[in-house]
């Protein structure tokens, strides 16, 4: 019985990966698992029960026999847990019940491997070793009927590949999740919003602005407006590489969004030439409050905030000075 409010990490991963009952059934179909496979596999119960520790050891010995594997499993707690899980897996492998719970078990181990940084090629090699050892066990058990033994082994291999499919997909999914998070972090760093005094934010935009970056900048600005309760934003675009109509529209959108949150935006660094060409392209710049340079923009901002005008000499002494 699953309590929807308290899902285990493996269950959450399953949900994120879209591993529903339907998807799992599909995976069984993809490896070609059929009724007669299940019958054959069931006959391996006794063999597995009596050899499970030997097989588990074979897997981990191979793994730790490789430098990469040993490194990954050097944490004894992780190694111990992995062994426990693997042992359970082997027993479950011949229970012929390859459903949601079975998959959740495998995901738990996959998450462990992911955390330990176990490389897929190492995992696959050890898995292959494991299959060899089990195969040998099956063939000696079926000595009197080798072709039946072979068929039984092939049936079990379908389950093995079902397992590999799940585990590999999970490891890859987790890896991609990490990459996405890192990309987000990098984007955060490249769109800094600076609070230069109370209620006043400075947003220096530098470089190339594509749709995606414009969006990151806007999101970042809006959150900052809320966090710092900013009433005025000075958006300096001196460092923007190319300002064409697309970029201009992005900037106007940013300004409009900030306005919806009660913050007025002063745009500085828009040269007269660029402004002219934008107007010629039909961009309505009247929505923007533009001031030539950053210094002028900051003075205008302070005026809007009702603060007294600070002269250049005084600015040099103030703690919140900004490079013009």
């Amino acid at each position: 019985m699953v309590d929807l409010n308290e899902q285990t990490p493996a269950q959450l991963l399953m949900r994120d990966m879209g591993l529903t009952e339907r998807d799992i059934a599909r995976r069984r179909h993809i490896v070609g698992l059929e009724e007669r496979d299940l019958t054959r596999i069931a006959s391996l119960n006794e063999l597995m029960a009596s050899h499970v520790d030997e097989y588990t050891t074979a897997f981990f010995d191979y793994l730790t026999g490789l430098d990469e594997g040993r490194l990954a499993l050097q944490n004894t707690a992780i190694a111990h847990r992995a062994r426990q899980l693997k042992r359970g897996h082997l027993l479950a492998m011949v229970q012929t019940d390859y459903d949601v719970d079975y998959v959740a078990q495998r995901l738990e181990l996959a998450m462990l491997y992911s955390r330990a940084g176990l490389e897929l090629r190492v995992f696959l090699a050890a898995f292959h070793r494991l299959l060899k050892v089990i195969g040998d066990g099956i063939m000696s058990r079926f000595e009197a009927n080798p072709s039946e033994g072979f068929e039984t082994f092939m049936s079990l291999k379908k389950v093995a590949f079902f397992d590999i499919g799940v585990i590999v997909d999970a490891i890859v999914f987790e890896r991609e999740r990490v990459i996405r998070q890192q990309q987000d972090a990098i984007r955060e760093l490249s769109t800094p919003v600076l609070q230069i005094r109370e209620r006043l934010l400075l947003l220096p935009i530098v470089g190339v602005i594509d749709t995606h970056r414009a969006r990151m900048i806007t999101e970042s600005l809006l959150r900052s407006i809320r966090a710092s309760r900013a009433k005025v934003v000075v958006m300096d675009i001196t460092g923007v590489a190319t300002i064409d109509s697309r970029v201009a529209n992005h900037l106007i959108q940013t300004v409009t969004a900030a306005r919806l949150m009660g913050a007025s935006v002063i745009v500085t660094g828009l040269s007269a030439e660029v402004a002219q060409s934008l107007v010629a392209l039909g961009i309505d710049l009247t929505k923007l409050n533009t001031i030539g340079d950053l210094q002028g923009g900051l003075e205008e901002a302070e005026r809007l905030l009702g603060q007294r005008l600070v002269t250049v000499e005084e600015r040099g002494r103030s703690s919140a000075s900004v490079e013009a």
């Binding site: 949900r15 994120d16 879209g18 529903t20």
Partner: protein, 134 residues
């Protein structure tokens, strides 16, 4: 968490139900709160069109996976209403024209990644929206 949710749209309350369903699925799939809001807003636009112009219809929200492994959400808003006579015109920006059919469509398109509109007079309308996880 279900892979798809179907919300019949008959009255205004259903619009909220449809956008909640969209938001929940988007959240479960890992979409950022901003993307969740974009999706919910797009659903609000198309669902409202159903209420205002078709009377009744349906909004289906489901997870999609494409060949390259991208995860996304698809919203299919369908109705058996009068249909849009001039699709091109409906897709042109015109917010000042308050009561024209499909006024929210060009905007809704900007909120999502993939947009498809199928409509003909007397044959109802189906709007398909897709948003992909970044």
């Amino acid at each position: 968490m279900p892979r798809e949710v179907s919300v019949p749209i008959e009255r205004e309350l259903d619009i909220v139900a449809a956008r909640q369903a969209g938001r929940e699925l988007a959240s479960a799939l890992g979409f950022s709160t901003t993307d969740q809001t974009l999706l919910a807003t797009a659903i609000s636009e198309v669902a409202r069109n159903i209420v205002n112009y078709a009377g009744s219809g349906n909004v289906l929200v489901a997870r999609v996976d494409d060949e390259s492994g991208r995860i996304g959400i698809v919203v299919i808003a369908s109705d058996r209403g009068p249909g849009i006579a001039d699709v091109d015109q409906a897709m042109r920006d015109g917010y000042s024209t308050g009561n024209s059919l499909g006024v929210g469509l060009p905007g809704a398109r900007r909120l999502v990644d993939d947009f498809h509109l199928a409509s003909a007079p007397g044959q109802g309308t189906t709007v398909t929206l897709k948003k992909w996880l970044r």
